[in-house]
Symmetry: C2
């Protein structure tokens, strides 16, 4: 039973007090209404509070039912003893089982008043021996102890973890409601239950819930009696049912949202204990929102807010069937969403070979390099022991829309033995595993998958989002296939087309290495000439797929050593060749290569010889790329298409770099237009991804047609956090110790990075009031960050194709929230 | 002959025109006076302009000396042909030699008018055959060609390089002066010469220079006749000499600076061609400035400006005798100033052993690691093939005040053969080399050294600087020895005491590794307990040496893998052990170690798990350091000293880190004070070295007693430049292409980094108006950067001990310049 169905474990805390004790004097005290935050691990309900050796007698007398009164008392002591005094629940159960055995009965409700009196005596002794104190007889003492226990439970481990996962501020605090007790267990004309006004799983507009006759809340959870479907209540208690359905409608209309309602029937009288917005799955959220608009209950802007944008993810990727039992053996970083199952394979070449034979595989590597690309292409998913959310494996997998779990540090790979170990568990090549790139889980064996199926309601809400939002949404895509997918998902263009992944294809890598190792400009030009033809083909495909829409093409960005073989591997090879008296010529060749690779290697590649620094030191490389883009555009124009290329220069720190490279590109552009006789409209802009570029954005803008915030790198440089290192090494501690509220690589750091972005927007637009400004870091697909982008006046966000719908919805929500000034909403989880 | 003695190659360009031709009509046109910028490679003087086939006849007639007129004409054609028409000088020389041979004479002045006429005919033919054009007969054409040639020479290679070296803006431009010609070669009552009003080498207040009778300027340079000392002029031409010395005094008094004066005597009449502030060595600059104040010629503030702060370096380090002939075989980065000679040694252990035997050594490594520290201690200097100005070798050598040349990429080391190669040159272990850490030069053989000897004038000018400056000057020092040296150099405290170098000492490294590899807190604590005693000793020594002055102690900063063995070495060891059937246990141990080292290694260590991130994840390490500092302070107080410890938390991005660690330190502080019964006054502050800390400085200030800008790291993160990578890989190209005006790791980037600093100062002081703010990056010792620090209101700069005097002077200059609003001064080089 999913947790959404256990209302007894949710909601603001309730202390229910027998009406006979407190009803007159304290009909209900509300300390504070803490919205509808609910939290596993937090203590919430204590029923029957106020009973003691004296009041239980009064209750027996008042109801003329001693057994009932004793049953309430023993329930109270169990609950109070467990959640307030901290004595483990199973110890009470043991006593109860013992007495049932002595009495020769099977179920609790078969126990007599006398049996229960014995239970109560033993419970009190248990409390004394376990806590050293005694069960408090004073109702006020009971009440205050319970209130403190609720407050304290705010800081227990499970509650803290839950808040962290759901980004609920620790400072929010909780409240305690004190209500008069009504009894669902007073006889056959009593009962208790919970219902959702609509189906929280599918969204169907039909009452959904369960109840039990003659019971208190915890009886349902205990699993001793099977609850009835709410529909059955119509037969059991027709009047109550009618009354309840009316109240449901009333509450839904009042709150303009699907409600999760707890109720009790005491002697044929219906009491509503609690109502709140109901949790729901993403498909249900979408359907309910659309239905309510069509029913005239809410308007489109409210509907937009009812769907949590981030949860649309569930609708767009293959995912593991949430009802499946999983054998999770480890977890790493959720590096690329979606899930996949397959046989473990450790080598890219083998992966390719086996895939041709039709096998489904998970590529497992300590970390991947460009040499492994064909393996990633071949595999269903990727699992690495090292590397963060921007590691090679993660970036490539996301680009391909393949699930990837990276930085699974518990995993020790032994390539020689062709196996990996997680603790004592050994997984061999060929064993089936599954990876869930949305959670980071690694699962043993195959798991059942669910397909994405955008519903008509989904299309509808997307349409409304598009009507409302003012922020543009583009996609990050590097291939014609991704470009096509992006259009399908509603992208208004490509905000980031990375050209380096094109260099990493297996057939191109040798040419790229040739280019890098060239010792003269002529030699380099020969390699570049070969690459030109390939790149032109790449750009032709992408520009064609995005015909009529802008495509921002970023020039070569990564440091060149990313295209070279691994140093450690070379060292092992050379040492081996030497010791085994290998061919001297081969040793020397390898040594020359090693020297060159070493020469290219860097202490801090993230801050190294990359981005436009390559364009400055090797202008011929950027010139080749400019020619490839513009020749492709010219060809398309001749064929009647309307390409809109935007050339993007990465990693600038100064307008001078942009000035230099702009001249280089426009010179090539002039040549191409002269050679082809075609006029091409293209723009030249830059990424803002280093603090200095943001600080000097007014100057940079003078040479740029557009800005695009590369917030991945801007976060790395502004915080001085290497993403690949920090996410595994210290960000977890920073989140634990509350030094950071969020992982800044997931949720944009508004205070720091955001301040720089705001400065850059203001400075840039001071120079050029109409400067086009976007964001293409991964934050471009994260709802909170999108809201910020809307607020500081960006023109567009760009994110991975699968996140485009999320971004469209989040952009609409940002606008709606700005219009209404509504506060942060934690409801729909 | 030093270049300062060749006035014909300096100065704003002069075109001297025979008086008979132009004097009446153009007595002197000044297009623009370009201050006193002079530049090698720039064309500057063309004498005798205006002569042609007709005017030469007039000149002969006017002077009644045909030989003289022809001599002027051939001189003019040579000079014009060379510098204006671009025909190589030696081709004119060849013709002249040929004619001298035919005429049977040895010297130019022995040629007859007829010989010279023949020379002139041949020269004109030479110009025709070389340029395709002919020698212009029209004086106006000659004039304009010469003027254009001057303007164009602004952009020739040597001039560009010179400007770059001396930070002269390319946009400054040059001017051309057109003067009437006076002839020093008209007979024995004529002459020409140059003199400095004081000795430019020593500063002695005595006329200093040379002259030639019956000569034109280039005769001196040609080296055919030996010039006379200016003193001899008193005998040769007593009246002229008296007149000249009076003029010298007059000019010096007028310009309030030592003058470099060119003069010509024509028929017993003295003409002053040019005067400008004379270049001088650092000792001369100091002496002249002090003397002039004492003579009442200038005041102290002017004296302060006359000495270029950066050049004091020459006075404070051992340096190579500037008059020595050097066999420079390669050059790298000038990583730690000073110079040293010694035998090449490749291994730290051997270096230590040989040093004990009294040998002087230069440690040569591809790069150094903590394992090499004892080798650096032992050696006279260090030379590395890789690594930048903050490489391990550079930082350690600077800390020890040892010369170091790093990143000498031309050098290929073969450890097996115990030799290194530079091109074809092979240098073996034991061969003597010298390194000049002030220039980056590597010299073959031993070189003569000059000792530093601060003169009384030096002391005087330092005293004046201290009276004037408002900016405090501290030193970066990690040992009691450095601390003592800092005090001697006038430091008002220690602005940065790095604690990691204390961890790298050879006897401590194993304990540090023990601490890092500990698998439990208990195990780690055991190692920490050992380190505590050692660190307490360190701090005791430093605080004692700086008794009464503040000592900013930075807690552990570098990533932990810096203390671990090298991965590549381990890989080679393991591969070797495996292939040679080595001991299985040893292989396994090494593999475990390799795995741990790998686990610690990072993709971008500069942005990794370091600085206060270590303090957050391993609080026990920072707690140990806090205890060591405060126990040392308590001990000193008991002994009657007055320690002033300032505890510095590195690399914060947020006030929350500081809050967390401040609490940790104050808890330890409370414990120490309770245990020892001593009250210790200490403060807790932070480095601002990541953009986010600067952006949020108002918040950070709320938890900080002081700020110190770590501009090395702030530059790395603001620009996204890894210093170790960028200085060898792309900064040179950036400087060449004028994308950057200066290496931002040498001269503070005011536009970018400076903007952040200014923000941080304003924000920090908004929260705490009296917040103490300093800088401890290497910019703290660079004059231009110090000026900026003064301007934005910092309280102190901190630099390496040897740069303290430079900083004191630069701080005074910054204040003086602000007071007078004086413009940038390029004069004294």
């Amino acid at each position: 039973m999913p947790s959404a169905f256990i209302p007894w474990k949710c909601g603001a805390a309730l202390l229910s007090i027998p009406v006979c004790v407190f009803a007159a004097t304290i009909p209900g005290i509300v300390l504070r209404k803490s919205d509808d935050v609910s939290m596993p691990g937090m203590m919430d309900t204590v029923l029957n509070l106020g009973l003691n050796d004296r009041t239980v007698v009064a209750l027996a007398k008042y109801t003329a039912n001693e057994r009932f009164a004793m049953d309430c008392y023993r329930r109270f002591i169990t609950m109070f003893g467990d959640v307030v005094m901290g004595v483990e629940h199973h110890k009470f159960e043991n006593i109860l089982d013992h007495i049932k055995k002595s009495a020769g009965v099977l179920f609790d409700h078969q126990l007599s008043a006398a049996d229960l009196r014995e239970v109560i005596v033993k419970y009190k002794k248990l409390l004394e021996s376990e806590t050293g104190g005694s069960f408090p007889q004073d109702p006020m003492e009971q009440l205050f102890m319970a209130v403190y226990a609720v407050f304290n439970s705010w800081n227990n481990d499970r509650a803290i973890v839950y808040r962290k996962l759901n980004k609920i501020p620790d400072t929010l605090g909780t409240a305690v409601n004190i209500q008069a007790m009504v009894f669902g267990n007073m006889g056959e004309d009593c009962g208790t239950g919970v219902a959702f006004t609509r189906n929280p799983s599918t969204g169907e507009n039909k009452l959904y819930g369960e109840y039990l006759i003659n019971a208190q809340g915890e009886d349902v959870v205990a699993g001793i009696r099977t609850p009835q479907s709410i529909a059955a209540l119509e037969k059991d208690m027709p009047d109550i049912f009618k009354q309840f359905t009316n109240i449901c409608k009333l509450l839904e209309n009042h709150y303009r949202n699907m409600q999760d309602i707890e109720f009790t029937v005491e002697r044929n009288k219906l009491y509503i204990l609690q109502t709140r917005n109901g949790k729901r799955t993403a498909p249900a959220a979408v359907k309910i929102a659309v239905d309510m608009v069509e029913e005239g209950l809410i308007d489109k802007t409210e509907a937009i807010l009812q769907v949590e944008a981030g949860h649309l993810d569930q609708l767009l990727h293959h995912r593991i069937d949430p009802s499946a039992k999983l054998d999770v053996v480890a977890s790493g970083l959720p590096a690329s969403p979606g899930a996949a199952s397959g046989a473990v394979v450790f080598e890219a070449g083998l992966a390719e070979e086996l895939t041709r034979k039709g096998e489904k595989l998970i590529l497992v590597r300590t970390e991947t390099t460009p040499d492994d690309i064909h393996g990633i292409v071949a595999a269903q998913g990727v699992l690495t022991a090292r590397g963060g959310m921007t590691s090679h494996a993660a970036v490539v997998a996301r680009g391909m829309g393949k699930p990837c779990v990276s930085g699974c540090e518990a995993m020790q790979i032994d390539y020689d033995k062709k196996e990996f170990q997680i603790g004592d568990l050994v997984v061999k090549e060929g064993d089936i595993i599954s990876v869930d790139g949305s959670t980071g889980n690694v699962v043993l064996g195959e798991v059942p998958m669910i397909d994405p199926e955008p519903s008509p309601e989904f299309q509808k809400i997307m349409q409304w989002a598009d009507e409302i939002r003012t922020l543009g949404v583009r996609a990050n895509a590097d291939t014609p296939e991704d470009a096509t997918k992006s259009r399908e998902f509603g992208a208004a263009g490509i905000g980031l087309c990375r050209t380096e992944h094109m260099f990493m294809a297996q057939d191109r890598l040798p040419i790229v290495q040739e280019m890098i190792l060239a010792t003269s400009i002529e030699e380099r030009q020969k390699a570049l000439d070969k690459l030109l033809i390939m790149q032109q083909g790449d750009f032709y495909g992408i520009l064609k797929a995005m015909d009529g829409l802008p495509v921002t093409i970023r020039f070569l960005d990564p440091p060149l050593h990313e295209f070279m073989p691994n140093i450690e591997d070379l060292v092992v090879e050379i040492t081996t060749l030497r010791l085994t008296n290998g061919d001297q010529g081969m040793i020397e060749d390898k040594e020359v290569l090693l020297r060159k690779v070493r020469n290219l290697s860097e202490f801090n590649p993230m801050l190294g010889h990359r981005g436009c620094r390559l364009g400055i030191t090797f202008p011929e490389v950027y010139a080749m790329q400019a020619r490839a883009v513009l020749m492709a555009a010219a060809q398309l124009i001749k064929e009647g298409f309307h390409p809109v290329p935007e050339i993007e220069i990465p990693l600038v720190i100064d307008k001078t770099e942009l000035e230099y490279l702009r001249e280089l590109v426009t010179n090539v552009g002039d040549d191409v237009m002269r050679e082809t006789g075609v006029t091409i409209n293209y723009t030249i802009g830059t990424m803002i991804e280093v603090p200095r570029a943001a600080l000097l954005a007014d100057e940079v803008a003078s040479k740029a047609d557009f800005f695009s915030f590369g917030t991945n790198d801007l976060t790395q440089t502004t915080l001085g956090f290497s993403r690949d290192d920090s996410e595994s090494k210290f960000i977890p501690a920073y989140l634990d110790k509350k030094i950071l509220a969020d992982d800044p690589f997931i949720v944009l750091d508004r205070n720091g990075v955001g301040k720089l972005m705001k400065m850059a927007v203001e400075l840039g637009r001071k120079t050029k009031p109409n400067l086009l400004i976007g964001i293409c870091g991964e934050h471009g697909g994260e709802s909170n960050s999108i809201k910020f982008c809307h607020n500081i006046g960006l023109d567009f966000v760009s994110c991975s194709p699968f996140r485009v719908p999320i971004a469209r919805l989040a952009a609409a929500q940002a606008r709606v929230k700005n219009m209404s000034g509504a506060k942060q909403d934690y409801g729909t989880i």
